[in-house]
Amino acid sequence: MQRTRIKTTPSSNLPPVLKNLAVKPTTPGGTKRFGTSDAPRMNQLLIEAGRTERQYWRDLWRYRELFYFLAWRDLLVRYKQTFVGVGWSLIRPLLTMIVLTVVFGKLGKMPSGGVPYPLLVFCGMLPWQFFSTAMSESGNSLVMNSNLISKVYFPRLVIIVSSVITSFVDFLISGVFLVVLMIWYRYAPPAAVLFLPFFVLLAFGASLGVGLWIAALMVEYRDFRFIVPFMVQFGLYISPVGFQSSVVPERFRLLYALNPMVGVIDSFRWCLLGAQDIYWPGLAVAVIDVIVLVASGIWYFRKTEQTFADVI
């Protein structure tokens, strides 16, 4: 039986294509271009084994709008098909505030330094809620976005930062509520309130640092899915949310300050309520803590980032 070949294709009358373009390393120009003397042109990309890309930080800048888009998506999605909507970001801290006020203030009779107890608690809740939601959201963020990670490139750092930003929006909403609460109690903040932005930055750093670590670890070890809720639960009681850190015995205070949220919460109370004097060694420890957390978080994240797509 004769074999008929299917012949067709408009492509057959295309100009002849060079055969066997396989690169020989000796090709002049071919290898030379890899030389380091060749300054990278715009849009040139070098992918090489065992070397982190130089253009990472440039890419981070190029994808800067994605920070916003991912955070925007999470916020949009979060309250779709809920009845109370954004109200949830108020109801949660509000209820926690009531419970903590009753437990620590009324039943435990903890000292408040002359500040209305609900205010004291809410001032602690504010950074704590930010930190804990940022921690759990960024922890899950990589796994939740695994479809993106395995299908498209962008600096993965964007995912973490935008989930911290998402939590930050909740933080701002609660912040507005704090203002309302302070007006209600006719409580004017001291002049130290001018330092607030710095402490907000500190809280942001703490959230980002821990978020980076947990997100990267979560990809490889899903155990963190169970560990994080524990940390959130215990942290609420270990950190001075429902009470003032001055109740901690003096000799343990520096040790206690190793939890970066201790320094953050204390400073929030200091600059918003002027309730207690700031414990400077504690704040110094917190600042160092946060710097170390962020630096090491970025380092570890960058180290593991390249294998996310293979492991996730």
């Binding site: 008929t4 294709t9 002049p28 042109r41 990309l45 490139y153």
Partner: protein, 443 residues
């Protein structure tokens, strides 16, 4: 392109858009979770399957096996070239694309890319079900690397291309799958990279839409941009690409003119391509899938009107009760026909141990073109896929249509036509009745 400032040490030759040198990618198999991609899953399963009970009693470390998905791959792609990448399942195509798209990093070697690159490994990456079409255009655009200003500028064009204007403010979860794909492709099609990498994007959507996609890619290529196109659809590769790179077992097997390589590929598949896969969770191993002709001989070439027998050899290490098997034949324009137990209800009572299951497609009503066979096996309740592969076997239909009574002047176009021919007859005004079918007159 060539900047006057750029040092002109090399002759006026188009610069390579992509240079790949000694590229290698190693996976360590064994400790990965069960949700790896198809290929890794399959290999892992095949290794573990028969020895699972033995291994589990020993040290876990034994399970770690190194596997090179790519090894020593080197080639160059020039600016403006349209290159197809072909190869059987697990040949390393996806790995290559993932490295080029910077989703994963190579273990060895390097790549230099000159120009803004965009890759489409999937249609609709990052689409969110709850968000509206409008919101998803922005989200997806940003994920693919467009700026907000760029998206706003192209918004109307995107909407027009996608043909979903009236549903722009409906959440995409209410879209039909066709609308979804159209919108997703519309966004991707409006990226303006200098180098485009496309993976099987055309495997989705209806025929008309696939044509539109192909057209868009064609015009993209004509405008002098570089395209890298991975597909199992050989006709699409042949029409679109000038050059084809054939990967086999993670290595570069052949590289050359599209027509020649595709022809080689088809000729070789009959001897070399034996598909196998496994799903360790269900203990099912598909040992091979072979195609046989009327006479029961193994073959990858059929004549129109011949029977096609698809024979699956399996090894069910765990009893599999009442599975559903679905087979389908697909050509240039997508699915041609299918044998679907989900619909016809003739399923095996149980699969246990080794055995064979076959399906005979009678008198193939197909034009001389290239085809592939897809296969999936589902669980008893029909909900879960045990295995699901787009390409388990390839075959071509060959023959001179003149022998079947075809005599049109444009007969050569049959190779691009809709391939399935149901027997029909023309009734002409003068009373002539002209029957046409792909049954060989000698039968």
């Amino acid at each position: 392109m060539s900047d006057s400032e750029a040092p002109s040490t090399t002759p006026a030759m188009p610069d390579p858009a992509i240079t790949i040198e000694n590229l290698g990618k190693r996976y360590t198999i064994g400790h990965q979770r069960a949700n790896g991609d198809g290929m890794r899953h399959a290999i892992e399963g095949a290794i573990r399957g028969p020895l699972a009970w033995l291994r589990s009693s020993r040290q876990k470390k034994l399970q770690q096996v190194d596997f090179w998905a790519l090894k020593d791959v080197s080639f160059q792609i020039k600016q403006g070239e349209v290159v197809g990448i072909i190869g059987s399942n697990g040949a390393g195509k996806s790995t290559l694309l993932k490295i080029l798209s910077r989703i994963t990093v190579p273990t060895e070697g390097r790549i230099r890319i000159d120009g803004r690159i965009a890759s489409l490994l999937e249609v609709g990456t990052g689409f969110h079900q709850e968000l509206t079409g409008r919101e998803n255009i922005f989200l997806n655009g940003a994920i693919l690397g467009m700026t907000r200003a760029e998206i706003i500028r192209k918004f109307d064009e995107i909407v027009e291309f996608s043909e979903i204007e009236e549903f722009l403010d409906t959440p995409v979860k209410r879209y039909s799958s066709g609308m979804y794909v159209r919108l997703a492709f519309a966004v991707a099609a409006h990226l303006e990279p200098e180098i485009l990498i496309v993976d099987e994007v055309l495997a989705v959507g209806d025929a008309a839409f696939q044509k539109k996609c192909l057209g868009k890619m064609g015009s993209f290529a004509e405008s002098g941009r570089t395209v890298l196109f991975v597909s199992h659809n050989m006709e699409a590769v042949r029409t679109l690409c000038q050059r084809v790179v054939w990967l086999k077992d993670g290595r570069l097997h052949k590289d050359g003119k599209a027509d020649e390589i595709v022809e080689d590929y088809f000729n070789s598949t009959s001897n070399e391509l034996s598909f196998s896969c496994a799903n360790p969770d269900y203990g099912l191993i598909i040992q091979k899938v072979v195609l046989r002709n009327d006479r029961g001989e193994e073959s990858n070439q059929f004549h129109p009107g011949e029977d096609l027998i698809v024979e699956i050899s399996y090894d069910a290490q765990k009893r599999l009760e009442e599975p559903y098997v679905v087979l389908g034949v697909q050509g240039i324009n997508g699915s041609c026909f299918t044998a679907n137990m989900l619909l016809d209800g003739h399923r095996p009572e149980t699969l246990a141990g080794t055995g064979k299951l076959a399906c005979r497609f009678k008198s193939l009503p197909l034009f001389p073109q290239s085809y592939s066979v897809k296969m999936s096996v589902r669980t008893r309740n029909g909900n879960d896929m045990i295995v699901n592969y787009q390409e388990v076997a390839y075959f071509s239909v060959v023959g001179d249509l003149a022998e079947y009574g075809y005599k049109g002047e444009f007969l050569s176009r049959a190779s691009n036509s809709t391939p399935v021919v149901v027997p029909y007859e023309w009734r002409l005004p003068d009373g002539t009745i002209a029957p046409v079918s792909l049954v060989h007159p000698s039968k």
